[in-house]
Symmetry: C2
Subunit: 90 residues, 2 copies
């Protein structure tokens, strides 16, 4: 994500938050994240179904990315990961 | 929510998940939840900004409601609340 930070920042600056390109990129990242997370989480022993946990994790990551890039609150990678961990109660 | 369960189920059945009415109701609930949660959470001592925590809680509640009503996985109120607590790491 770091290597594309400049591109994402420019993209967010020049396109409305509800524009097609921002929505498409959002959906793309969300679905990529769900696919990866379902693999990572498959040994979890939660009562909550895996599909729902993966969606929740993906939503949380995307919420923080949106906060940084779309809503313009610059954070370092480490801070972003701390936010995600704290939100997920880790 | 229980008293409107039948209405919401019918609504979900007869409208596409990406239809305007479903999106409007989703956004309405999300914003109501953010307003309530910001009040409830205002004494929290998290490193993560209140606005972001409130959005995260609201997203999580909406994710579970969407799972139940839109994606058609019937759950009791108690089960739904257990799911939300577990996802939020409570």
């Amino acid at each position: 994500m770091d290597q594309h930070r400049e591109l994402l920042t420019q993209l967010a600056k020049h396109n409305a938050n509800n524009s097609s390109i921002v929505s498409s990129i959002y959906e793309y990242f969300k679905n990529e994240a769900i696919t990866i997370l379902k693999q990572d989480l498959k040994n979890q022993t939660s009562k909550v179904p895996l599909e729902l946990v993966a969606k929740h994790y993906s939503n949380t990551i995307l919420l923080v990315l949106k906060w940084i890039f779309i809503e313009n609150h610059p954070l370092s990678k480490r801070e972003a990961m701390e936010y995600v961990d704290e939100l997920l109660g880790k």
